[in-house]
């Protein structure tokens, strides 16, 4: 490995790459990041350790305890590979330092090597979180000798190499032969959505696994799972098999040879990556900042016709907000997608949670009881309130303007119209999310259609109320000083405040439903009355104070 590769690796690490703290300029975000690492990661590790421990017990019963090692390596490799795809794409192609590196007298393989090593450093965190509990639990419980731990150290060092190389090859080929590198936004949106779905999938699988944990079922699962996991390890990451064999057989020469084979092949794969990098990296990365323009002349007349059509300021402003929400990856993931993820999560947890089956049964039972329809109706409205409160669209709508807020001050559109457009854009997304939830709820709980329709007909008032409250929150406490869109939505406390407020409002609605068990008609009328009055009051407040506040905001 050349000195320049190591020099570059050191510089990249010092520059903050590797742990995602690049761009965190203030100390608070660094501290928060560190806290997250110190709290969330250990939490996951502890949970995983418990899982490994009980799996070990169950597996010993059938004499297959070695499977935990193969699981550990398989899980670590899979997670590294998946994270690696996003990480490599971000680091190799979308990072701002890439252009600076291009004009330095560096060979492509040196850049690829250094960036790879920096990425690997980050992946060791994941490896440690997954592999160490396995090694320690297996080691202690099987009373393994010192050689096992030494071998484990060697395996630990090489675990990220092959999965990360595969991820890098995938990304480099993709960037070389498609124009994905020039479609950063599209790539981020697709990758982010996939990651969300993947995260959700893993979450649910683990949830299901832990809930279903009883010895017989576990055994059945393992018999089935061992095959799939073995396939996974030997199929996608063939080298992992040697690592497993080495760790399970530390006393014979075969074990040692397996370990050497594992290390040698991993190193060879890394060298192959460097050769590939030398061939394709530059071609994919050069011209990254070039303009992407299709220069599509066919649509010219169509665009012209659209331009000639006149629309109201409210409509055009609302459409602008929605376009920006859909086109900015961070906003899309945090404001648009969450509308659809939260409801799904909520429903799945309700159905799959430990008492989930009972809830579902109870709801079905309740629905047959006409006296309870009012309560169900109020639950539906509360759910709408949660959906509105848990997406950050309206509660960040002023913050998202950032340095561009000045534009909204010189255009001849009244602040009231602008505020309404911002509320409306969030409200439209919330309604879409709510309709989606309602369809799911109707299917899962077999809600009678008339109740679903009535919830929709009255529930929007809860959403509108939360949207009005959200915009007031953001008008009084906007986060306008940001340099990356991420900060406008992800590090914005207004989103948290909105969640708290919507939880209180929704919670009170549920409380009222349970406390008074109103009849259906009474529930409909009282909710229309209460939410109606609340909406009028907060709208009046917004019209007066909100508009004044917008006028005083100076970006």
């Amino acid at each position: 490995m050349s000195n320049k590769t190591l020099l570059l690796t050191r510089t990249l690490i010092r520059n903050g790459e590797g742990f995602g703290i690049k761009g965190m300029k203030n100390k608070v975000s660094k501290v928060l990041f560190a806290l997250m690492l110190m709290i969330i990661l250990p939490g996951l590790v502890v949970m995983f350790s418990f899982f490994v421990n009980s799996a070990y017990s169950a597996l010993t019963a059938i004499g297959q305890e070695g499977v935990v090692i193969s699981w550990g390596i398989a899980i670590a490799s899979t997670v590294i590979f998946l994270f690696g795809i996003f990480y490599i794409a971000a680091s190799f192609y979308f990072s701002r330092d890439v252009e600076v590196l291009l004009y330095l007298p560096l060979k492509p393989r040196q850049i690829v090597g250094a960036k790879f090593l920096t990425a690997a450093l980050f992946e060791y965190l994941i490896t440690a979180a997954v592999f160490l509990p396995v090694v320690i639990i297996y080691g202690i419980r099987s009373a393994a000798g010192i050689l096992f731990y030494i071998y484990s150290c060697v395996v630990f060092v090489f675990i990220p190499v092959v999965p990360l190389c595969l991820a890098a090859v995938l990304v480099m080929v993709l960037m070389r032969f498609t124009n994905a590198s020039k479609q950063k936004d599209t790539f981020s949106i697709i990758a982010g959505t996939l990651a969300l779905i993947l995260g959700l999938g893993i979450n649910l699988t683990v949830q299901k696994f832990i809930i279903n944990m009883n010895p017989q079922e576990l055994e059945a699962l393992i018999m089935k799972g061992e095959n799939t996991l073995a396939l996974l390890t030997s199929g996608i990451f063939p080298t992992a098999r040697w690592a497993v064999s080495a760790l399970l057989d530390t006393v014979t020469t075969a074990g040692f040879l397996n370990l050497m084979l594992y290390a040698a092949v991993s190193a060879a794969v890394y060298i192959l990556l460097l050769f590939l990098g030398e061939m394709v990296y530059l071609k994919g990365v050069v011209g990254l900042s070039e303009t992407v323009s299709k220069r599509n002349k066919q649509n010219k007349t169509e665009a012209r016709d659209k331009f000639l059509k006149k629309h109201s300021a409210l409509r055009t402003y609302t459409m602008l907000e929605l376009k920006l929400l859909f086109r900015t990856p961070i906003y899309f993931l945090n404001c648009v997608i969450v509308n659809f993820i939260w409801p799904v999560l909520l429903l799945i947890y309700m159905v799959m949670g430990t008492e989930g089956a009972d809830i579902q049964g109870t709801v079905k039972q309740l629905m047959n009881n006409p006296d309870i329809a009012g309560t169900i109706f109020l639950f539906g409205i509360a759910l709408f309130t949660f959906v509105a409160g848990f997406n950050g669209t309206v509660s960040t709508s002023i913050s998202r303007e950032g340095q561009e807020l000045f534009i909204k001050k010189y255009i001849p559109v009244s602040y009231r119209t602008q505020i309404l457009a911002k509320v409306l854009s969030g409200f439209i997304l919330s309604i879409a999310g709510a309709v989606f939830t309602l369809i799911a709820a109707t299917a899962v709980f077999k809600l009678p259609l008339y109740i679903s329709m009535l919830i929709l007909a009255a529930g929007w008032m809860g959403m509108l109320f939360i949207s009005f409250v959200d915009i007031l929150l953001d008008l009084y406490n906007p986060k306008l000083d940001w340099d990356s869109e991420q900060k406008a939505v992800k590090q914005n406390l207004n989103v948290v405040y909105s969640m708290i407020i919507s939880s209180i409002v929704g919670g009170l609605t549920i409380y009222a439903a349970l406390q008074f068990s109103p009849g259906f008609i009474a529930a409909v009328l009282s909710s229309i009355l209460v939410y109606g009055v609340l909406n009028v009051l907060v709208y009046l407040l917004l019209r007066k104070k909100g508009v004044e506040r917008f006028g005083r905001l100076e970006g």
């Binding site: 002349k297 561009e404 255009i411």
Partner: protein, 241 residues
């Protein structure tokens, strides 16, 4: 016409960015607003356009007070901010559509803009691309076009020449002249004194929030009694401060 009477603006309670200025920018003239960095040019422009609220004083655009009739006053103005890096995720045509709707431009006038302005700035082939993919000069052009969609009677430009290629720069200067000659107000800030010297009918020089000079270039030369370039006069004026 733009009128500023006793206008002041203080940032953070201590930094006086604009200090009790009086300024009248008449119709039918190109009016250059000059001053060193941090002199108060952009703050003044932001107060005229309604982006910032003045702490005291009155600002009128065509006789309409920006404080009491903000929407009507803003309708009079076409504004080109100093940085064209905005709405980067919109396509050029989408940005123009937004501005046209916001300024209530009729379909007939829109057609003229497409046929006239867009063509003259050489932007017809890129209107369907995202502004993100534009060069600095192209971004500047799309903002310039957006500012003229409603044929404003007052055109305010903050450092408009930055990043423009020679042809567009020439076209812009020509347009400024044409608008002034047709009786409209053209008010622009600049650092480039050569440009100001060539095209301005009148200039105002601001430093440390106060107007040091306001009048024609000849008046400036007469007052200093030296036949010097604007650059030298500018340096002398701002140096003595």
């Amino acid at each position: 016409m733009i009128e500023l009477i006793g206008v002041s603006k203080t940032y953070g309670g201590t930094v006086k960015a604009v200090d009790n200025i009086d300024l009248t920018i008449p119709d039918g003239e190109i009016f250059g607003f000059l001053g060193p960095n941090g002199a108060g040019k952009t703050t003044t422009i932001k107060m005229i356009t309604g982006i910032l609220n003045a702490d005291s004083g009155t600002i009128k655009v065509n006789g309409i007070d920006i404080k009491t009739g903000p929407i009507e006053a803003k309708r009079q103005i076409g504004f080109v901010p100093d940085s064209p890096n905005m709405f980067l995720r919109l396509k050029g045509i989408e940005y123009l559509r937004f501005m046209a709707d916001v300024y209530d431009v009729s379909p007939k006038d829109r057609a003229q803009v497409i046929d006239d302005l867009v063509k003259n700035f050489g932007m017809e082939d890129v209107l369907n691309d995202r502004i993100q993919s534009y060069s600095h000069g192209m971004r500047q052009k799309i903002v310039l076009i957006g500012s003229l969609l409603h044929d404003p009677s007052v055109w305010i430009l903050d450092e408009p020449m930055t990043g423009l290629d020679p042809r567009s720069s020439f076209f812009l200067k020509e347009m400024m002249r044409k608008r002034a000659d047709s009786g409209k107000t053209v008010f622009f800030s600049t650092h480039v004194l050569d440009v100001a010297e060539k095209i301005c009918d009148k200039v105002a020089i601001i430093n440390k929030g106060r107007i040091l000079f306001c009048g024609t270039l000849d008046e400036m030369r007469n007052s200093s009694k030296k036949d010097e370039t604007l650059e030298k006069l500018f340096l002398e004026l701002t140096e003595n401060e």
